[in-house]
Amino acid sequence: MGATPEHHTGGEDPNRRDFIHIAATVAAVGAVGGLAWPFIDQMNPAADTLALASVEFDLSKVELGQQVVIKWRGKPLFIRHRTGKEIAAAIKDDNAALRDPQTDEERHKAGKAEWLVLIGTCTHLGCVPTFGGGDFGGWFCPCHGSHYDTSGRIRKGPAPKNLAVPEYTFLSDSKVKVG
């Protein structure tokens, strides 16, 4: 081994030493990075938290024109039984200047315009908006004054997004499963 000249120059072998330094540094950074991940990831939702996925709800409990608030994944869930007037107002504003443009059609299940299922936290800073308030008759956030319309779309105030629609399915005409 070592027939090439540079192998005979003893300590004068910068290339090989550099290689060892770089390789060792990369290995150390990789190891620290790899070891750090479990310590970061432990703060993400635990398995039992993720498992609390879905709730079923009987819609017949909600009177026309009312909403019921249930707790889902630690957050309030709004289930609103909209009147024809409220639906019409929402559809009429589909082409208004919306901050987070969405048509009313996109915010409920096909053919179920009277049922609105929304996550009840203001998209500004997470307060719970009050039912029926504000300039658009949908919801009003008392904390910093965000107004939502009867489709739960943001219309005025500091919130950047519409009230979120969770994943849900109709199990029957009067039963939904959220999550």
Binding site: M43, P45, R73, G74, L125, G126, H144, P158, A159
Partner: protein, 439 residues
């Protein structure tokens, strides 16, 4: 810590220890024989008061942690258990809760003093930065501590503040979920806040040690802002300042005790005596008084992300201050124009604090309905917040940089001793001179 040490170990044990771990020498050089400017006024005793505050918070906090349960089902009741059943639990909790307010009161005096006398200027920039780090850690610690009793204000305060992080584009929501440990503020959040609330004060203590180290290398600034020129300008820390600080601490403790014993809930919010309920938001969410100015800045901006940026920027200004103030003169005693703007700044921060405690649509002058200018109602808290926010940032970004270049400062004295010794009443006849005539 720096320079020559006058410590002479006396007992056999001290001599033995001094060559192995010179910790007594270190203490002697730091708090006994440390040469300190002889003209420090009472604004300078708040450093000592702050050290005491940190000590009180750590001791009472360790005790409270022995009785508190960090679980959403038990947290609120465990605090009531401390108040009613634990021997002297009421006292220890009220000292801890009011201690946080006293801590912030003292740190604000300490910071405004630093602003006024230019304590952030060379060669004390690192000292100032470490102080800013301490202040930031204090805010985080106080916020997490406020969440622990799991009342309505605790819970919704935590919701609002953690939601601020969601304003970060793209990754904000993932980070928020990561911080929560779930889909909302819940038990995992409470648990980790408790863990961190216990940890951070010790980190504060560590940075305080660095802060004091960084103080003792260049030595104290002083009200004239003039460097120490000779031994004449200084006195040993002990007994001169230990006694002065001791007196100030006694007066401070009287006020502290007045709160704890006579009106312990004056600085808290009654809504926090309602157990947390994720389904109902209190009509008016407010932080503790010491964070109101930042809350007002957050609300002054009608956009979520920009509001968060402005609020963060308000604290970032403090970190940048040593490089924003261009004046060569340290103390505002010799900067009449800067002094005027400084006092306006003090008033503006108080106005912001007032605004943060009000509903945004409230009127400032109740009798007057509106004061309409174009499409802005200037008689509303939100517009007052906006104007105050504008001044807050202008002070750091415009006034201090420009003023340092344009202002003509008053003549400074040659030394710390000069204004005292040359005063006709203090000096021997014939030695009088008027400092303002020196150039």
């Amino acid at each position: 810590m720096s320079g020559h040490s006058n410590y002479e170990p006396k007992s056999g044990f001290e001599k033995w220890l001094d060559v192995r771990l010179p910790i007594i020498r270190f203490g002697h050089d730091t708090i006994v024989d440390f040469p300190t400017p002889k003209n420090l006024n009472y604004w300078y005793t708040f450093g000592g008061i702050l050290a005491l505050c940190l000590g009180i918070q750590i001791v009472t906090g360790i005790i409270l942690a022995m009785h508190y349960v960090a679980h959403v089902k038990f947290a609120f009741d465990s605090v009531e258990h401390i108040m009613r059943d634990v021997n002297y639990g009421w006292l220890i909790r009220y000292v801890h809760a009011n201690g946080a307010s006293m801590f912030f009161l003292a740190v604000y005096v300490h910071m405004f003093r630093g602003l006024y006398y230019g304590s952030y200027k060379a060669p004390r920039e690192v000292l100032w930065l470490l102080g800013c780090v301490i202040y930031l850690l204090m805010i985080i610690t106080a916020f997490m501590g406020y969440v622990l009793p799991w009342g309505q204000m605790s819970f919704h305060g935590a919701v609002v503040i953690t939601n601020l992080i969601g304003a970060i584009p793209v990754i904000g929501q993932s980070i928020t979920t990561w911080l929560w440990g779930g889909f909302a503020v819940d038990n995992p959040t409470l648990n980790r806040f408790f863990s961190l609330h216990y940890l951070l004060p010790f980190m504060i203590a560590g940075v305080v040690a660095l802060h004091i180290w960084a103080l003792h290398v260049p030595g104290n600034n002083n009200p004239t802002g003039v460097d120490v020129k000779s031994k004449e300008d200084t006195v040993p820390f002990h007994p001169y300042y230990t006694v002065k600080d001791g007196f100030a601490i006694s007066v401070f403790l009287l006020m502290f005790a007045a709160f704890v014993f006579f009106n312990p809930n004056a600085l808290g919010d009654a809504v926090n005596y309602v157990p947390a309920n994720p389904l109902v938001t209190p009509a008016h969410i407010v932080p503790e008084w010491y964070l109101l100015p930042f809350y007002a800045i957050l609300r002054a901006v009608p956009d979520k992300l920009m509001g968060v940026i402005f609020m963060g920027g308000a604290i970032a200004m403090l970190f940048l201050l040593p490089w924003l103030d261009t004046s060569k003169v340290r103390s505002m005693r010799y900067r009449p124009t800067a002094r005027l703007y400084f006092f306006i700044f003090v008033v503006v921060t108080l106005v912001l604090g007032y605004c943060g405690g009000q509903l945004p649509d409230n009127k400032i002058i109740p009798g007057l309905t509106t004061f309409q200018v174009i499409d802005a109602d200037l008689n509303s808290v939100v517009w007052l917040s906006r104007m105050a926010t504008a001044y807050y940032f202008a002070y750091f970004l415009i006034i201090l940089p420009v003023l340092g270049l344009t202002e003509t400062p008053l003549p400074q004295p040659e030394s710390i001793s000069e204004p005292v010794l040359s005063h006709p009443a203090n000096a021997p006849a014939g030695a009088a001179a008027s400092p303002e005539k020196r150039g």
